[in-house]
């Protein structure tokens, strides 16, 4: 009997190599469970059962032959439906890609495949990753496994819900403004956004190319670290990728935080937060001090403008990136007439309202007459914010802040007020605007629903960040069994 909710990557590796169960049995067990459980959660858009079982068989053959297998071999993962797996339907949550089959693997997928990871399926997402609740998906409404009346967060909501309901061990998501960390926070998980350039974006359907990063969601910091190690590195297909290596073992580098300087941001007034969040946050801050870290107040004067920058830069890039969805390529359109008619009719009918809103907004801020006042200005303020972070990281090693201002909200609570929805990204967007790595850990106040505790580090300082996150996780026992 396999107990799915207790599994972590290392546990699976141990149980497979000690022949407690086979990769095939494990994968089969997951699909049996998903077939029952996902009726309630709706985390998956598509299951890849045949291919997954075939892959699992391959791993079992290797184990039987006494071959050494990698840590991720036979480990079942869920993949956000904007990351390409060759010959597999990839919709990005949009009707405009309803029939699109990927012609190649994303680099992150290629790397995981080489390690023998098993892909259970593609998870539901906000359309083209535009949303914070997964409600903008054209296909289904994913529920938060911790409270079915609430959203799982977004845009990687399906990935988060799949893990939190034990329908996967871990998952890949993508984070443009918080889309890995915010759903992780809402579902009581660990969510990691790597430094911009750490992970290749090749094969990730682009939202805003200068901000997008693929990142892992998992139950533990250790699992997130193992996945990060597997997917980082320079890729010839992504010119913005960097020659960066990460060792998952670096999370055990130090046993305490002595000598580590952690900054709390003056501009985030803890008293203005929800009381329960303030309690949870302070408790963990205290714990970091107990571990030996010194906490000091730092200032990022223009931090609060990150969100305004984001809602100019992201739609601008999206309007350009999504121009390729024209009804002629990727997925056939049923529209006829002139070329222009096909564009208008296809994009008008098959893009959802949030996507249209952002494309039109992006078109506006790039249009002649408004470019300088909006797009160019946002780039200038972005640079200002980057410089402020640069200065702060001369003084401290890490910065901590909450991941989200609230716990998971209810369905339909924000969907009709875009600005209100956007404001739920206020604490996650700065990392994207400055290209910094960030990780969210689940923390709890007195309510039963989790908040997120977020670490930010300087570029490519994932090792220091994950070491601290690991120690905090281990010391607080905050991770409740879901």
């Amino acid at each position: 009997m396999i107990t799915l909710h207790e599994l972590t990557i290392k546990k699976i590796h141990f149980l497979l190599t000690s022949k407690e169960f086979s990769a095939f049995d494990l994968t089969k067990e997951f699909f049996d469970y998903i077939e029952k459980k996902d009726k309630e959660i709706d985390a998956y858009k598509l299951l890849l059962k045949d291919e997954a079982l075939r892959q699992a068989n391959e791993i079992d053959k290797k184990i039987a032959a006494g071959e050494e297998i990698s840590l991720l071999a036979g480990v079942p993962l869920a993949i956000k439906d904007n990351i390409l797996i060759k010959n597999t339907l990839t919709t990005a949550g949009s009707k405009i890609l309803a029939n699109y089959k990927a012609a190649y693997n994303a680099t992150a997928i290629e790397k995981l495949k080489k390690q023998g990871a098993i892909f259970l399926g593609k998870t539901n997402i906000d359309e083209f990753a535009m949303g914070s609740s997964t409600e903008t998906s054209a296909f289904r409404k994913t529920k938060n496994p911790l409270d079915l009346t609430r959203v799982p967060g977004g845009s990687s909501g399906g990935s988060a819900a799949a893990i939190a309901s034990h329908q996967s061990v871990a998952a890949l998501g993508s984070d443009t403004g918080g889309s890995v960390r915010q759903p992780a926070s809402f579902c009581g998980l660990v969510g990691l956004k790597p430094t911009y350039g750490a992970v290749s974006r090749f094969g990730l359907i682009a939202l805003a190319s200068s901000l997008d990063q693929i990142g892992p969601l998992a139950k533990t910091v250790e699992d997130a670290a193992i996945l990060l190690e597997a997917i980082v590195g320079k890729d010839k297909y992504d010119n913005s990728s960097e020659n960066f290596q990460f060792q998952a073992n670096s999370i055990y580098n130090k046993d305490d935080l002595k000598g580590l300087k952690i900054g709390i941001i003056k501009e985030i007034n803890l008293n203005s937060l929800e009381k329960d969040l303030a309690i949870a946050f302070q408790k963990n801050l205290k714990q970091l001090e107990n571990l030996g870290a010194s906490i000091e107040e730092i200032s990022i004067p223009h931090l609060s403008l990150s969100l305004a920058c984001y809602y100019v830069l992201m739609p601008a890039e999206a309007s350009s990136n999504l121009a390729r969805f024209d009804g002629l390529r990727y997925s056939p359109s049923d529209k006829t007439g002139s070329l222009k008619d096909i564009y208008f009719e296809t994009r008008g009918e098959y893009f959802g309202s949030e996507v249209k809103r952002r494309i039109v907004l992006g078109t506006f801020v790039l249009s002649s007459g408004y470019y300088d006042a909006f797009y160019h200005k946002a780039r200038l303020v972005q640079t200002l914010i980057k410089k402020e972070f640069e200065e702060v990281f001369k003084k401290v090693d890490l910065i901590v802040l909450p991941t989200t201002p609230t716990t998971a909200f209810k369905f339909n609570e924000k969907i009709n007020d875009p600005l209100e929805m956007y404001l739920s990204d206020i604490f996650t967007v700065p990392a994207n605007i400055a290209g910094l790595p960030a990780i969210s850990l689940p923390i709890y106040g007195e309510n039963k629903l989790p908040y997120g505790f977020q670490f930010l580090a300087n570029h490519f300082q994932e090792a220091t960040m994950l070491n601290a996150a690991y120690l905090l996780e281990q010391s607080t026992h905050e991770r409740r069994s879901l």
């Binding site: 190649y104 002629l328 997925s331």
Partner: protein
């Protein structure tokens, strides 16, 4: 005094044209209101002094891959045929589209 909103019905028509998206009459009022709300929020950027920021200098810091390896088709491990096969209407290896002129 109420300032003129940045986006009105005419702007929406213009943006619809520019972005090649058909926007129905029923969609227009909400889109107009949403855009004005968002633009009013992001407008706070304009009050910030950025006169000392030199964006050109920042852009120069972005490293470029000089060997442009990524542009060389010979380095591709995947088959162009796979991409071409995904065209739903094709003539030989070309994507077929309605006449432009």
């Amino acid at each position: 005094m109420e300032k003129e909103p940045l986006v009105n019905k005419k702007t929406i028509d213009y943006l619809s044209e520019l972005s090649r998206i058909k926007i129905t009459e029923a969609e227009k009022p909400k889109l107009e209101a949403d855009l004005n709300a968002i633009l009013n929020y992001v407008k706070q950027l304009q009050e910030i002094d950025t006169s000392f920021i030199n964006l050109d200098e920042e852009l120069l810091k972005i490293k470029t891959n000089k060997d442009l390896e990524y542009l060389n088709e010979k380095n591709f491990d995947f088959e162009n045929d796979d991409l071409i096969d995904s065209f739903y209407q094709r003539k030989d290896k070309w994507l077929e589209i309605p006449p432009i002129f």
